[in-house]
């Protein structure tokens, strides 16, 4: 078991710089999610840790060992591919034991390992099948088994659940969480799905354009995003952003919402320009009688989920989503007032930096 340490990592494809001077520490035994929109460099970063992609500059350490220019096989990592990359001409057992047979392990020993791993992943009934005869979830488990059998220091997952349907994805997510609890091995997990990252990881790394935006626990990222990108990326439905004018210098900062009332926000830094954005999550807004609250709004669509409902509104400060009591009905087109919970406001300056958190 070991952690992973990345120092000043740079990756260039020709003239294009995909990752620029990235520093990251992945603690031993953690479940770290690399989260970002497609093209942010998260998969490239994972492939660099795996050794499938040459590192242009910087140092990669696994445990205490510098593996920057080491062959993939020598790094002690095992990767689970998005497409599973199972060998169609081999049975499940042969796929799982592929690395062992390459290493020249005896057939009997291979069988013992296959039995151990397949029991853990509930594949024991399927050992003689070929990948073509398996369902998506079973293939996924074989791919994990193939990595598991090597007893790696670090597991690398490249969007492992993206090829599964919604129901199976939730189920596999649970199984992965259980697996991590049982093994306690460091896992690095690439995903573009913030729900996956929130539910699985104990450390989330939000990447954009090859630059780390924020590293932290799921709750830190949710409650104290350090910039507008992280605030908008984490959470579903996403945070609402409202345009406003701040009166500079005051504490708490008083902000006049566009077309609405004034809110008081606790800030740790002062904006340099008066025009700021106020961020607030859907669950921190209450629908009140027309004319009351901080903002007027017009209901456009309502989504009923049973336990809760999401009301989509148009306000003078921009469109908003509000989590509302499902027993109350808000017909489309009706006028309402919106009351913002001022303890949960996030204020972003023009550059997108959050003024509400201390960095």
């Amino acid at each position: 078991m070991a952690g992973v340490n990345l120092e000043n990592i740079v990756k260039r494809f020709g003239a294009v710089e995909v990752i620029r001077g990235l520093n990251l520490n992945i603690p031993d035994g953690s479940f770290t999610a690399l989260l970002g929109a497609s093209g942010c460099g998260k998969s490239t970063l994972l492939r660099m840790i795996a050794g499938l992609e040459e590192t242009t500059d910087g140092t990669i350490r696994i445990g205490e060992t510098d593996v920057t220019h080491e062959l993939p096989a020598k790094r002690g990592v095992a990767m689970v591919f998005q497409s599973y990359a199972l060998y169609p001409h081999l049975t499940v057992e042969q796929n799982i034991c592929f690395s062992l047979s390459l290493a020249g392990v005896s057939k009997a020993e291979q069988k013992t390992h296959a039995a151990r791993v397949s029991k853990l992943l509930q594949l024991d009934q399927l050992l003689d099948r070929r990948p073509a005869q398996l369902s998506g979830g079973q293939r996924q488990r074989v791919a994990i088994g193939r990595a598991l059998v090597r007893d790696p220091k670090v597991f690398l997952f490249d969007e492992p659940l993206s090829n599964l349907d919604a129901l199976l994805r939730v189920q596999m997510r649970l199984e992965l969480a259980k697996l991590h609890q049982e093994l306690g091995t460091t896992m690095v997990y690439v995903t573009h799905d913030q729900v996956e990252a929130m539910t699985l990881a104990d450390q989330i790394v939000v990447l954009e354009k090859g630059v780390i935006q924020q590293v932290g626990s799921p709750l830190t990222l949710y409650n104290a995003p350090i910039n507008r990108y992280v605030a908008g990326f984490i959470g579903s439905p996403a945070m609402n952003f409202l345009a406003g004018d701040a009166s500079l210098g005051g504490t708490p900062l008083s902000i006049q919402l566009q077309g609405g009332g004034t809110v008081q926000a606790k800030v740790n830094a002062q904006p340099t320009q008066p025009n700021v954005e106020v961020g607030i999550r859907p669950e921190h807004v209450r629908i009140v009688a027309p004319g009351a609250g901080h903002l007027p709004g017009t209901v456009s669509v309502i989504e009923q989920l049973g336990n809760t409902s999401y009301v989509y509104l148009d306000t003078p400060a921009g469109p908003m989503i509000v989590e509302a009591d499902p027993t109350q009905s808000h017909p489309a087109g009706s006028q309402v007032g919106l009351d913002l919970d001022m303890a949960h406001l996030h204020v972003f300056d023009q550059s997108g930096r959050s003024l509400s958190v201390t960095v």
């Binding site: 499938l52 993939p72 096989a73 990767m79 591919f81 047979s101 390459l102 070929r130």
Partner: protein
């Protein structure tokens, strides 16, 4: 009112297409009848006629075909001179197939893994171009290339390979007075002529191997040689088998190349040609023609048993 949602019927075409829509089976029958008739009667029918003929025999005095069931004709295949033809053809087909596979693999591998855009076009053109010119022209061109005064001998002499070539031509079982009159020459031309049929299926099979499978293999600790042996080769095997079916069966059946290039030793194709023509022994020709079919069936059965199609 805007335009109506149901459009009016417009003539014959709409009515026919509506009829087909109501009875999908009718369309299927109409589409399938011509090819099934062709395949059933012309293609399989002639094959059945061939099989039937091979069970007849020829009256040795009158030279007339006796239409009675007998295995006598098949027994004749095992006479020394006929068995000789079969074994010679089989050996040639095996050697041509193996050599084609060895030469084609790097070409197909390069085309599948590394060639992009313009180079891919160059590859396809280079492989297919020879197929566009006449088979006979190519064979006669090779006769000149391989002749005693031909370019190959000339090159061999100039790079100091003359003695080596002479030494090879002295060899009893594949030599001759020149390359164009030796079995070695026949072999070279066979390999050249059938090469595209080996490269193309191989390239198609190699191209279907996803890069992630190669990456997974190196991640799981395989050296390049191990990746080739345990991943690339097994996954390319269906393509190699498909290519070898072409080179193998085409060599088994060809009767022109051995006539033009080589020492006029007879091959199965040539035997079939001569027995059904000048000799008028159609049953023996038919029996000879069944040999490649049987060999191919055995070959495919062995290939299947060895798991060549597992990756399909």
């Amino acid at each position: 009112m805007t335009s109506p949602a149901i459009l009016p019927e417009r003539g014959m075409g709409d009515r026919i297409s509506a009829a087909f829509w109501r009875r999908p089976r009718l369309l299927l029958i109409l589409l399938l009848t011509p090819p099934v008739l062709w395949l059933g009667i012309v293609y399989l029918g002639s094959l059945a006629a061939l099989l039937l003929q091979s069970f007849y025999s020829i009256d040795e005095f009158s030279g007339v075909v006796k239409q009675e069931f007998t295995l006598k004709t098949y027994a004749e295949l095992f006479r020394a001179q006929n068995l000789d033809i079969i074994l010679r053809t089989l050996l040639m087909a095996i050697l041509v197939t193996l050599t084609s596979a060895v030469i084609a693999f790097p070409i197909a591998y390069f085309a599948a893994r590394f060639a992009k855009g313009r180079w891919k076009a160059v590859f396809y053109l280079g492989v297919m171009l020879p197929l566009w010119s006449s088979y006979l022209v190519k064979v006669y061109a090779w006769k000149l290339i391989l002749a005693r005064e031909g370019i190959l001998t000339w090159i061999a002499d100039h790079v100091g390979g003359g003695p080596l070539l002479a030494r090879a031509l002295d060899e009893q079982w594949f030599g001759g007075s020149s390359l164009s009159t030796s079995p070695l020459g026949t072999f070279i031309v066979f390999v050249y002529i059938w090469m595209p049929y080996m490269i193309l299926p191989m390239q198609a099979a190699l191209e279907r191997v996803p890069v992630s499978m190669l990456e997974a293999s190196s991640d799981l600790g395989a050296s390049r040689a191990q990746t080739f042996r345990t991943v690339v080769f097994p996954l390319a095997l269906p393509g190699i088998i498909a290519g070898s079916i072409f080179t193998f069966s085409l060599t088994l059946g060809d009767y022109i190349i051995p006539q033009i290039i080589g020492n006029s030793a007879r091959f199965i194709g040539l035997a079939v040609y001569q027995f059904q023509g000048t000799a008028g022994n159609v049953p023996l020709a038919a029996a000879f023609a069944m040999v490649p079919i049987l060999i191919m069936l055995v070959y495919l059965w062995i290939a299947k048993r060895m798991g060549a199609f597992d990756a399909l």
